[in-house]
C-alpha cells in the first residue's frame, strides 16, 4: 500500500509523521520491530513530533529492536500484530531476516506481521512492504531520498548515534566553548559538525574513576584494552545537548550471569547463552561509570547553575527496545546516583587543568584531516568486506588503528590522527556510512572475546565505498596526491 507518493518537496520529517500515523493506526500493532539503527531513529523522529498519534515515551513500551527479537518469548510475540518499521528498503534483507526470526524461530504467524518502510527501491525483492511512502525508486532517487532522511535525523540531533545508549540532556547557560572545555578536562575532545550543521563533540578515552573496581565486577578475562571508550556530546537544539557515554569492554566468548557482579538492575538482563545481550549489558554498565566522569567535569558549571543536566525517567525508555524486560525505575535511580557521585567525588583531581580541545569543524584546518580519516575508515571497512565476504562483521577499533596508524601508514606520524579516529567513526555512523556491530576475536593471549566492530552500512554505501576505493587506487598508482572526496560523484 502506498500511503502517499510524494517524491519531491515537503518536509521529510512531517512526511515521516504522516506515514507512520497512517501505518500505525491501520495496523494497531502490539509490537513495533525497529530494524537497527535507522528504524529506531525513524521511530524516534516520529514519536517526538507533536502531531504523532503514538508519542514518546509511551511508544517505547511497544518497540523491540531487531537485535533483541530473540530475547522475546514466542508467546508474547504472538499475542498481536507486529509491525516491522524501517526507513528504507534496498533489497529487503533486513526485513526478511526479522521475519525469519519471528516466523521460524518464534513461531509467529506470518499474517500477523506487517512491514512499513518509508522508501523502497525498485529492486527490493526479498521482502514486500505492506506500507510505503515512496516506492519504485531508482538507485539515484533512492540515494537522494536516503540523504534526505539522514539529514532529518541529523537535524533532530544525530539520532543514529544513540539507539542503545543512555543519554542525558543538558541545557547550557554559558558559552559553548566553556561547556566543551569543561568536558575536555576528562580527555582529548574533538568538535566536528554533522552534514546538517549540528555541532558534536567526541571526547576520546576519557578518564575513568575506579577502573580496577570496574574490571573486578566483570568476568575474568574481560578487558578494556582497545575498547571503544568515549563521551559523545550531540547538539540537539540551540543551547541543548545530549551527553552519551560509550564504553564497550570486551568480554570472554562464554560467560554466565554468575560471572558478573554488576548492579541488579542490569544483572537481571544477563543471559546464559546470548553473548550479544551480555555484551550490550556490559556496555551499559561500563558507560554508566563514565557518567561519573561527565558529572565530575561539569560539577563547577553545575554549582554555578550554568548547566542543568536532566535525567527524566522517560529519557531511558528507548532502552526497552533493546531490553524489553529492563527495570527502568532502578536504572534511573542508578544513573541519578552518578550525578551526586560526580559532583562530590575527590577524584576530581584526576581532571586535567588544561582541557585539550581540537576544532575539526567544517572550515578548520583539522577538518581536512578528519575528512581523510573518515574516508580511510570507509575504505578499510569496504576492503574488510571483500576480505571476509561470508562474515561481514567489520573491523575492531584495534584493527582500524593498526591499518591507519602503523608505521608506514598515511597517518602514522600525525599525532592528532588518533583522537580524530573517534570523531571520524562518530561522523561515519551519523552519516549512516558505517554501523556498529558485535563479533568475536582471538586476542594475543589466546582468549576469544566478544568485541565491538564497525562495518559498512548497507549495499548503497558499500557500492560507493568500492567506487571510491577503486578511484583512490588508480590515483595512487599514477603517483598523484590529489584525492577525490566526493562520494558517489
Amino acid at each position: 500500500m502506498i500511503i502517499s507518493s510524494s517524491q519531491s518537496g515537503g518536509d521529510t520529517s512531517s512526511s515521516i509523521v504522516r506515514f507512520l500515523n497512517a501505518a500505525l493506526s491501520k495496523t494497531e500493532p502490539l509490537w513495533i520491530v525497529a530494524t537497527e539503527r535507522k528504524g529506531t531513529a525513524i521511530l524516534r523522529t516520529y514519536s517526538e513530533a507533536p502531531d504523532a498519534l503514538f508519542q514518546a515515551p509511551a511508544i517505547w513500551d511497544k518497540v523491540i529492536s531487531s537485535e533483541s527479537l530473540r530475547r522475546m518469548s514466542g508467546e508474547d510475540l504472538n499475542r498481536g500484530t507486529i509491525l516491522i518499521v524501517d526507513e528504507a528498503m534496498f533489497s529487503g534483507r533486513g526485513a526478511s531476516n526479522a521475519i525469519k526470526i519471528l516466523v521460524d524461530e518464534k513461531g509467529v504467524e506470518r499474517e500477523k506481521i506487517k512491514i512499513a518502510v518509508y522508501a523502497v527501491h525498485e529492486n527490493a525483492s526479498e521482502a514486500q512492504a505492506d506500507f510505503r511512502w515512496i516506492g519504485q525508486l531508482s538507485t539515484s532517487m533512492y540515494r537522494r531520498v536516503r540523504e534526505q532522511i539522514l539529514g532529518c535525523f541529523q537535524q533532530k540531533g544525530s539520532l543514529l548515534l544513540d539507539t542503545e545508549h543512555i543519554e542525558i540532556s543538558v541545557g547550557i547557560k554559558c558559552g559553548r566553548s566553556e561547556f566543551f572545555r569543561a568536558l575536555c578536562r576528562s580527555g582529548v575532545g574533538i568538535s566536528h559538525e554533522t552534514t546538517a550543521g549540528r555541532l558534536n563533540l567526541t571526547i576520546n578515552d576519557p578518564i575513568l574513576v575506579g577502573e580496577k573496581e570496574l574490571l573486578l565486577k566483570l568476568p575474568k578475562y574481560a578487558t578494556i584494552r582497545n575498547a571503544v571508550k568515549k563521551i559523545r556530546v550531540v547538539e540537539r537544539m540551540e543551547d541543548k545537548f545530549a551527553i552519551i557515554p560509550i564504553f564497550y569492554p570486551s568480554i570472554p566468548k562464554e560467560t554466565k550471569p554468575d560471572d558478573y557482579s554488576i548492579d541488579s538492575c542490569l544483572s537481571a538482563l544477563l543471559s546464559e547463552s546470548d553473548q550479544d545481550a551480555n555484551f550490550h549489558v556490559v556496555g551499559i554498565f561500563a558507560a554508566l561509570q563514565l557518567f561519573q566522569t561527565v558529572f565530575m567535569s561539569l560539577s563547577e558549571l553545575m554549582n554555578q547553575n550554568k548547566v542543568d543536566p536532566v535525567i527524566p525517567e522517560e529519557s531511558l525508555r528507548h532502552m526497552k527496545a533493546l531490553f524489553p524486560t529492563i527495570n527502568l525505575k532502578k536504572l534511573h535511580a542508578y544513573v541519578q546516583n552518578f550525578r551526586e557521585l560526580g559532583r562530590t567525588t575527590k577524584a576530581k583531581k584526576l581532571l586535567s587543568d588544561k582541557p585539550v580541545h581540537f576544532d575539526a569543524t567544517t572550515a578548520s584546518e583539522n577538518a581536512s584531516l578528519l575528512n581523510d580519516i573518515h574516508l580511510s575508515v570507509i575504505k578499510e571497512l569496504a576492503s574488510a568486506m571483500d576480505d571476509y565476504p561470508r562474515k561481514p562483521k567489520g573491523l575492531t577499533i584495534g584493527e582500524l588503528k593498526k591499518k591507519l596508524f602503523a608505521e608506514g601508514q598515511p597517518f602514522s606520524r600525525i599525532e592528532l590522527a588518533k583522537p580524530l579516529l573517534g570523531a571520524a567513526l562518530d561522523r561515519a555512523i551519523d552519516q549512516a556510512d558505517i554501523i556498529p556491530d558485535i563479533d568475536c576475536r582471538v586476542f594475543d593471549d589466546g582468549i576469544e572475546r566478544v568485541v565491538r566492530t564497525f562495518r559498512i552500512d548497507g549495499e548503497i554505501v558499500l557500492s560507493d565505498a568500492r567506487r571510491i576505493t577503486t578511484l583512490w587506487t588508480e590515483i595512487d598508482s599514477l603517483g598523484n596526491s590529489n584525492r577525490c572526496h566526493n562520494r558517489g560523484e
Partner: protein, 424 residues
C-alpha cells in the same frame, strides 16, 4: 542603537563583519586561555584592537576583484580610524548615531537579551580596586561562520586565514596586541598622538572650568573633580605611551610592545603561518620606521612634558588627603610618591626648555643634559607642600594652571592647531 538599517543589506553587512572579526577574537582567546588558564577574559581594549588588527589583515588579503564577481565578502564596510576616547577604533558608518558606531559597541548591543549561543561575547565581572570592570569572553566559534560558508559568502580558505590570524594573535599579550592593533604607519601614529594631545588640552580646560565654577563644593565633595584629574592624567599617559617617551622611566611603551609583537609574529622561528606573515609585513611598518620617523619623533617632547605635568598636578592632588577615598585616587594608586616627585623634577627640567630648542628626537638623557637655567614658569610649590598641607588645595590647583598654560601654548598648540575635534 540604530545604524540606519533602512539601507539595503546594511544590517547584514554589519552583522557578517562582526562575525568575521569576532571569530578572530575568539581564536585569540582560545589560544590564550589554554596557555593561561587563570585568564578570565579579554578587556574591551584588547578585543577592539584585536579586531582592528584583523581588519587590517583582511583588507590587505582579500583582493576585491575576483571576490566581488563570485559574491564573496570583500569589504567589511568598516572605518578603521574612527577617533574615540583614546584614538583609532573601528566603526560602522551611521547616519543617525553621530556618524559612527564602534564595531564592538554594535556587537555588545546585539548581545543584550540574546541567548548565550548567539552572543558575540559573554561578560565576566572582574574586581578592580576602583570598582568592577567587566572582561569579555569571545563566543564566535567557527561553527557560527557556517551560514556564511553555506551561502558562499566566505570560502574555506577565508575561514582558515581568519583562524591563522586569530592563532597568531594568541601569541601576544594584551599590551602587545593593543600596540600592534592601534599602530601601523608613522602617519597613523602621529595622528593618534595628536589626538591625545588635543583631548588632553580639552580636558585640562574642562578641569579648570569645573574647578573655578565649583571651588567650594570640591572641598566637601571631591569625587567629580577627581574624575576630571584622572581624565587629564589618562590622556597624558596614553600620549606618552604612544610617543615612546615613557620607556626610559617605566620600561613600558607602545613602541616596545609593538616591537615585541612584531618579533613574536615575524621572527624566523615564529609559528605564524607564512601567508599571515606576508600580510602582516605588507600592513605593518617596522618599529623604527614608525618611531624614528620625524612625524612621530618630534612629538616626543610634547608627550613627555604633558605626562610630567599630569603626574605632578593630577598625581599630587589625587594622592592628597582630600582626594584619598575617591575613585580617581584608586585608579592612580600605582603612581607612588616617588614617581610623582620624579615627575615634578622632570617637569621642572621641561620648563627650562624654550620652544625653539625642542629636539627632533627626544630622550630623557637629552632633557637632563639640556635643562639649564631657571624654569620659565613658577615651579616653587612641590608635591610635599600639598601633602604636608603647607599649601591649600585650591592654591595648588591655581598654581598648576600657569604650568598647563605654558605647556599648551608652547608645546601642544603648535602641533595640534589643525586637528579636527568633531569626531567623537
Amino acid at each position: 542603537m540604530n545604524l540606519d538599517f533602512n539601507r539595503e543589506d546594511y544590517y547584514d553587512t554589519c552583522f557578517n563583519a562582526s562575525l568575521i572579526l569576532g571569530y578572530v577574537a575568539y581564536k585569540r582567546w582560545d589560544g590564550l586561555s589554554l596557555s593561561y588558564p587563570v585568564l578570565q577574559g579579554l578587556s574591551k581594549f584588547d578585543i577592539d584592537k584585536t579586531m582592528r588588527f584583523a581588519l587590517k589583515l583582511w583588507n590587505e588579503a582579500m583582493i576585491p576583484d575576483p571576490r566581488k564577481k563570485e559574491g564573496l565578502i570583500c569589504s567589511l564596510g568598516i572605518k578603521p580610524d574612527h577617533n574615540d576616547k583614546h584614538g583609532h577604533r573601528i566603526a560602522f558608518a551611521s547616519s543617525i548615531e553621530k556618524g559612527w558606531k564602534p564595531v564592538l559597541d554594535f556587537m555588545q548591543s546585539l548581545d543584550n537579551g540574546e541567548k548565550e549561543a548567539k552572543r558575540f561575547f559573554l561578560s565576566k565581572p572582574k574586581e578592580k580596586s576602583y570598582g568592577p570592570k567587566d572582561v569579555l569572553v569571545p563566543q564566535v566559534d567557527q561553527h557560527r561562520l557556517n551560514p556564511l560558508l553555506r551561502s558562499r559568502r566566505l570560502t574555506t580558505d577565508d575561514v582558515r586565514f581568519l583562524e591563522k590570524v586569530g592563532s597568531a594573535c594568541s601569541l601576544l599579550d594584551a599590551f602587545e596586541m593593543i600596540s600592534i592593533g592601534r599602530h601601523e604607519t608613522a602617519a597613523g601614529t602621529r595622528d593618534s598622538i595628536l589626538w591625545e594631545l588635543s583631548r588632553w588640552k580639552e580636558w585640562v580646560a574642562d578641569t579648570y572650568n569645573y574647578v573655578s565654577e565649583n571651588s567650594s563644593y570640591i572641598l566637601s565633595s571631591p569625587s567629580e573633580a577627581a574624575n576630571y584629574l584622572w581624565q587629564c592624567y589618562s590622556f597624558a599617559r596614553e600620549c606618552a605611551l604612544k610617543t615612546g617617551t615613557l620607556e626610559e622611566i617605566t620600561g613600558f611603551s607602545d613602541r616596545k610592545n609593538y616591537n615585541n609583537a612584531i618579533l613574536k609574529l615575524l621572527s624566523e622561528g615564529s609559528p605564524v603561518e607564512e601567508r599571515v606573515k606576508r600580510t602582516i609585513k605588507a600592513v605593518q611598518c617596522s618599529t623604527s620606521s614608525i618611531w624614528k620617523d620625524a612625524q612621530v619623533a618630534t612629538l616626543g617632547f610634547a608627550g613627555f612634558a604633558i605626562w610630567c605635568c599630569s603626574v605632578f598636578s593630577s598625581g599630587t592632588l589625587l594622592k592628597s588627603k582630600l582626594f584619598s577615598s575617591t575613585q580617581g585616587a584608586m585608579r592612580l594608586e600605582k603612581l607612588d610618591a616617588e614617581l610623582i616627585k620624579n615627575g615634578y623634577d622632570d617637569l621642572k627640567r621641561c620648563m627650562t626648555i624654550d620652544r625653539s630648542n625642542i629636539p627632533a628626537v627626544f630622550t630623557r638623557d637629552w632633557l637632563i643634559k639640556n635643562a639649564n637655567g631657571l624654569p620659565l614658569v613658577d615651579m616653587s610649590i612641590t608635591p610635599e607642600d600639598l601633602w604636608a598641607e603647607r599649601c591649600p588645595v585650591l592654591e595648588f590647583i591655581s598654581h598648576t594652571k600657569a604650568i598647563h598654560d605654558h605647556i599648551i601654548e608652547n608645546f601642544v598648540d603648535p602641533e595640534v592647531f589643525d586637528i579636527s575635534l568633531n569626531e567623537a
